[in-house]
Symmetry: C2
């Protein structure tokens, strides 16, 4: 069972918007045993939309289309679909009622004609009700192929995928079992890792595929398998991972499917009943932001001081000015002091501190661009390390965040 | 002049990685007058890669391929390209020297055979040197079409696009002029905006296309034009925007091409010589993170207190416990107090404070999920507003961040 995802919108093709919709849909489909053959992003152009749908129909069983269903003149997906299916638009009463109730609740204005027109759907379509917006999802079938058209607004599309599309696909088709296990590995490069596990990789059974996904201080090592027999796949995957584990135990952090490193850290801290605070300079709040983007963070995360200016390190974090003058604001000494002080300020068990220069200019610091010091405070100890993380601002920030989580992870799984 | 971007990698098609590479490339190509006809993401599969390249060759003039050039066994793009061009691999001495110097500088280990093999390139290819990694870019030509293969690691790909691909395309082709102007509009919905400017939209000349891009409290209104005569395009765009401006002056924030709202705020604060701090509860550091992800933030941004736990609001931000007990931790009173106190703590001219419950559970707060209070402190005043931002965690956080920037923007352009 294969699918193609077609995302429609000029904004994607001029690089104004990152297409996160197809990522979400691909993940949801994979989970239920539907492989994604291709993702195609095309312009709001009738002939191109028709061509893409036709080609997809030749290659796959399920075609999921997002975008171009809004109320404005640049949205042409619905009329194009009507043409493709040689159909007509009819008003759907339930959709109109849904729009009316959304407008009453949130917009508090009377419906205009363009809003009312959102209730027009192809007569052959099964409507998928959109709880969050005025554009309904539409499910159509032709020559045993399924075509689903969804709005491009991410949270509307997501709800429709989860609540309507996935259950309907599962009901209608008999699906194989797809399994991915992704090992999060920190602190070793891609080719070193590949050398280390070469013999194991070469002896993997044919139906297990291995992939390396390196990024800024971490590598995700993904094993994938697809087949009819769930039991065989699960037990063979388990066996292979058990054989691999002793070879990577120093660098293995957890399984990606259980969450990112910050989620794994959060679960561990919550289980231990321990708390965390952060003091961030060059990472500018990104460590806190990554932690708090996950629900349940309030159980273990107390907060952060983003001491971006040097003065804030002194005024808010009580770092001794003499220490800064003696060792520089980017130094292991200052990082350690920041970690200790934020730990005290927020009354936590653990603390992370970062101080560095992400560039492109030297800023407050007198050190080279890319120099970052990271400190970890534990209930009994504090230590810091200095790193050189290159001269690319975003890269430096993200590398520093990943390295800080890696260092903390080592500490909390030790304690 | 049209291009297709082909991104290769199973990680994209199983939804493990968001394809940001194609966004970057699309933007870079657009800027120099190359339209992107289609973005296609496909698996690490030889026959599929060959099919995608062949189809792209039929549709466009320039084909940019990323991914699958790593040193590990799952990387098959290079051998597939060799097959497509009926070519052979030869060792490139300059590439080998580049790899050796990278290894000497950063990896500090001897080269293994897989690393040395990275210096093998198709004999017909022009090598594009990769300063940041071992996989070189490759430029090939056939039937007057250009094929470029680049590594998928984002910062390596970006450097190659900027330093090698873009200049080479500009040198080789005579390109038309593409212009986008995107107006950032906050505080009005898509269909209301469309109604408001309908007459203006209907009178736009044929060669100017209009698009609405709504997202969490803001709409980006994009005008696009392409043509040979730069002067005509620029002056007509200017004229149209001048006519539109009076109709949207209450909700217009700036041009997207000049930067996001936080960049526009930063520029204004820097020009005024004023400073900013933030106190963040439900936004968890995301306001600080968005500000500091831009270089130059240190000129105006002093820092933030992420007071995630209620205790941190008392201990670190000195919010009166009685105030919290009387009005609730999520209240305009507490938000105002947080803004005033963080302004004082960091000695800044302006401050933003957020307190709210992003959900999914009630957490420390006793208010409904989705309730958010945002306060702005100015040199002379402080005020706060309460909002209901729905029940979707990520959406609540991002809406709150956008609303906070919108409120601050209004204040600083007033002052």
């Amino acid at each position: 069972m294969q699918a193609e995802i077609i995302t429609i919108g000029d904004e994607i093709l001029i690089g104004q918007v990152v297409d996160t919709n197809s990522t979400f849909i691909a993940k949801a489909l994979n989970k239920i045993g539907v492989s994604v053959y291709q993702i195609t992003s095309i312009q709001d152009d009738k002939s191109h939309i028709l061509k893409a749908i036709e080609e997809a129909e030749n290659n796959v069983d399920i075609i999921i289309i997002t975008g171009g269903l809004g109320p404005t003149k640049d949205d042409i997906t619905k009329t194009t679909i009507v043409e493709y299916f040689d159909d007509v638009l009819v008003q759907d009463t339930a959709v109109l009622r849904n729009i009316e109730s959304l407008w009453e609740k949130y917009i508090k204005q009377s419906l205009s004609q363009v809003n009312i027109d959102q209730a027009l759907v192809p007569s052959k379509a099964t409507v998928l009700m959109n709880r969050f917006g005025s554009a309904p999802g539409m499910w159509l079938e032709k020559n045993n192929k399924v075509f689903v058209s969804l709005p491009g607004v991410p949270f509307e599309m997501r709800a429709l995928i989860n609540d309507a599309v996935v259950p309907k696909i599962q009901k209608q088709f008999e699906l194989p079992f797809i399994m991915h296990k992704t090992l999060l590995v920190y602190g070793i490069g891609e080719s070193n890792l590949a050398n280390k596990i070469e013999d194991w990789e070469d002896s993997l059974p044919q139906f297990i595929k291995l992939a390396y996904l390196p990024s800024l201080g971490k590598v995700r090592l993904r094993l994938s398998a697809i087949g009819k027999d769930k039991q065989t796949i699960v037990s063979e995957m388990d066996k292979q991972i058990k054989q691999l584990m002793p070879q990577i135990k120093d660098v293995f952090v957890g399984f990606d499917e259980d969450g990112s490193i910050e989620v794994l850290i959060g679960k561990q801290l919550a289980a231990m009943g321990k708390t965390l605070a952060t003091a961030e300079s060059c990472t500018g709040g990104k460590i806190a932001e990554r932690i708090t983007s996950n629900s349940g963070a309030s159980v273990f995360f107390k907060g952060s001081v983003v001491s971006y200016a040097t003065s804030a390190k002194v005024d808010v974090l009580n770092v001794d000015n003499d220490l800064i003058e003696e060792y520089s604001v980017v130094s292991v000494q200052v990082a350690e002091e920041m970690a200790k002080n934020v730990q005290k300020l927020f009354k936590t068990d653990f603390a992370i501190a970062t101080t560095g220069n992400a560039g492109p200019t030297k800023g407050d610091a007198d050190v080279e661009v890319g120099t970052v010091c990271i400190a970890i405070a534990t209930p009994t100890n504090v230590y810091a390390q200095e790193f050189q993380m290159g001269n690319h601002r975003t890269k430096v920030i993200n590398k520093a965040v990943n390295k800080a989580f890696e260092m903390l992870q080592k500490e909390i799984f030790k304690n």
